[in-house]
Symmetry: C2
Subunit: 383 residues, 2 copies
Amino acid sequence: MTRGRYREFCQCDNPAMTRGRYREFCQCDNPAMTRGRYRGFYQCDFDIAGQYDTMIPDAECLKIVHEILSALELGDFHIKVNDRRILDGMFAVCGVPDDKFRTICSTVDKLDKMLWEDVKKEMVVEKGLSEEAADQIGAYVSMQGGMDLAERLLQDPKMSQSKQACAGLSDIKLLFSYLQLFQVTDKVVFDLSLARGLDYYTGVIYEAVLTQAGVAPVSNDTQNGSEERVSVGSVAGGGRYDGLVGMFDPKGRKVPCVGVSIGIERIFSIMEQKAEASAEKVRTTEVQVMVVSAQKNLLEERLRLVTELWNAGVKAEMMYKKNPKLLSQLHHCEESGIPLVAILGEQELKDGVVKLRVVATREEVDVPRDDVISEIRRRTSQA
Amino acid sequence: MTRGRYREFCQCDNPAMTRGRYREFCQCDNPAMTRGRYRGFYQCDFDIAGQYDTMIPDAECLKIVHEILSALELGDFHIKVNDRRILDGMFAVCGVPDDKFRTICSTVDKLDKMLWEDVKKEMVVEKGLSEEAADQIGAYVSMQGGMDLAERLLQDPKMSQSKQACAGLSDIKLLFSYLQLFQVTDKVVFDLSLARGLDYYTGVIYEAVLTQAGVAPVSNDTQNGSEERVSVGSVAGGGRYDGLVGMFDPKGRKVPCVGVSIGIERIFSIMEQKAEASAEKVRTTEVQVMVVSAQKNLLEERLRLVTELWNAGVKAEMMYKKNPKLLSQLHHCEESGIPLVAILGEQELKDGVVKLRVVATREEVDVPRDDVISEIRRRTSQA
C-alpha cells in the first residue's frame, strides 16, 4: 500500500534496491547502503487500536516517539504534526478543485525535498492549478508553530470557513494540551507543510526528523542548497487511520487506529555512521566477558569457569575450540566489542587467580578466583 | 521437512489442526487446544553453526535447554540424549537390512507412545523384520544411563563391531565429560530408545521431557498405562545436522550445525494449565502500576502522574478515556494482572497524596505525592 510513496526517493539503478519500500533507505552516496546490506525491510511499529477519547492515544504515540529518539541519543530532532482534515480544509479554502486534492497533497509532500518555487511550478505547470490557489497554499504551508498557531488559524477568516479544518485545528489544540502534560512540546511542531502521501490517514499525521548537523544529510537533493533546512531525513512517521482496518472486515466494522513506525534500519545506519565517525565499535553482542585460555589443554578450566559465570547470570562466552590461540580469542573480543576478558593460564591456576583484562584499555589485573564474579559484576555495572 | 513427523501424533478431525506441525500440540482432550487458540506454530530455536571441536557446541545446547527448563519452573524434567550413529550401528549389528534402517528407526521412535510389544509387532508384522533382530533391538533400546553406559557399550561384543556405533559412543562419553563441567548431568540421560524421526540428523540427538506428575499428561495413548513412564511429552528437541545446510549451498560447502528447538507453545499451554490449577493469573503485560481516577475531570492529573512515572522508568498505564469508571479501571488491573494501582481522587489531590492499592490484597495506603515513585519501586522490586 505504501510502496509507491518511497519509490520517488531514489533514482539509482541498484536492482537490489527496487524491491519493496527499501528505496527510502537507498541513499546512493551512502556506502553502508551500497554494500548490499539491509536488503530486507524492517520497521518497528507502535499502534493503538480502539474507540477512545479524542487525542489521548494520539498524544501517547508522540510521547513514545519522543522517548525513543531521546533514549537513542541520535542528536537533536523534532516531530512535525499536522492533520489530514486541516490539509483538506486548506485545499478547499484555497480553491483547489475536489478532484485535485490528492495530487496537490502529494506535491506538498515534496516540500521537505524541494524548494517552494519548484513545488509551486509542479502544482501550476504539471497539475494545472491556478497560480492564485498555489500562492494561497504557499502562504499556509510556510507556517509552523504550536498551540498558538492552531488558535490563530481557528480565527483565520479563510481557514475558519472550512468545518473540516476547524475540527482538525481544535484537535491539534487539544493534542498540544496533552503534549504539555507529557512534557514533550519542546520537540513537537505543528507544521502545515507536513502532508505524508498515504491516503489512508484520516486525522493527525506525524513525522519525526533528525536535525543535528554533524550527521551526513541523507537527502540526495543537492539543487536545494538551503542551509536553514538541515535535516537528515525522516526516522519515524505515522498518524491516525480510522478507516483502514474496517476495509478488511467483512462486516465493515470500524476500528479506529493511530500509530507510528520507527525506521529502525535508517536509525541503525545513522548509529553506525556515528560510531564509525567516532571510531567506536558497535556492539553486536551483549556478552560481558569472554573466558579465554593462555595455553593449551585448558578447555576443562574454561568450561568450569564459564559454567560458574553462566550460573551466576553473567553473560559469558568462550570459543568452541579445544586449544584456541590467545591472540585469536583476544581479537574476537575486540571485533565484537566484548568489554572484559577472563584469562586462564597455568600461572593463574597455580596462583588461584583469574587475569581480568579490560579490552578497551588492555589493562590487566589478577583477581582471586573466588572474587571473579563480584569483580565482573562491579565492572560491568559501571559501564 | 519435519511436517510428516508430527502428523502421527494426532488423530483428531479438527481442520484447524491439520496445517503444519501444529498437530504435535493438538491433544484433543486438552481444552486449551480446542478453543482454537495457537493456530499458528511457533518454536524458539537455538543453533550453533560452524566447524568447531567435537561435542563442545553439542554440550552447550544441552546446558541451554537445562537452563531454560530450570528457569521456567515447569516441574521436573529430563533430557534424553542419543546419537544417530549409535542407532544405525545398533541396527546393523542386530541384523536389520540396510534398506530398513529408516523405517525401523521410525518405529523405535514410537516407544515413548507405545509399549514395546506393540513396537515389536509393528517391526515384525508390518515391516517384515525377523523376530530375532527385533528382540536384539529390544534389549538395547531398554538401556538408559550416563557415561558408564557408553563405556559399557564400547566393550559390548556386538555393539563394538560397528565402527559407526563406536564413534557415536566415544562422542557420548566426551559429551558427558563436558556436561559434568556444565553441572547438568543430573538431568541428562543417555537413552538408546531415543530415535527422533528426522532424517537430517547426523550425530547427537536430544529430547527434553517434563516428568512431573501433577500436570495432566498430554499423551493421548491410554492403552499404555505404564505408571513408571509418567511423561507430559516433549518440550524441546534437536540434534546435530551436519549435512542439511550444505544441501542448499550451490557449491555444496558443508556447514556443520547443532541446535535445539524449544516448544514454546506447548510450554505456554503447560504454564497456563498450571496457573489455572492454582487459580493464579497469567500476566499478559509487564505494567507495574495503573494510574486511575476516582472521579470525573481528572484526566489531566492522570496524564501528569503517568508522565512522571514514565519519565522515571516505571512501567505505567492509564485508560484512554476522559472519565473512565473507577470500577472498570480496577477490573482491568485484576484482569491483566497489574499488581499496583495509583488512585487519584479529589480528596487525594487536596491532601497531596496518591492512594496506592495492592490489587492482590486490595490493601490501600496513602503515599505523599513526592514519595510515590520510590514507594512503587520499593513494592515492585519486592515482587
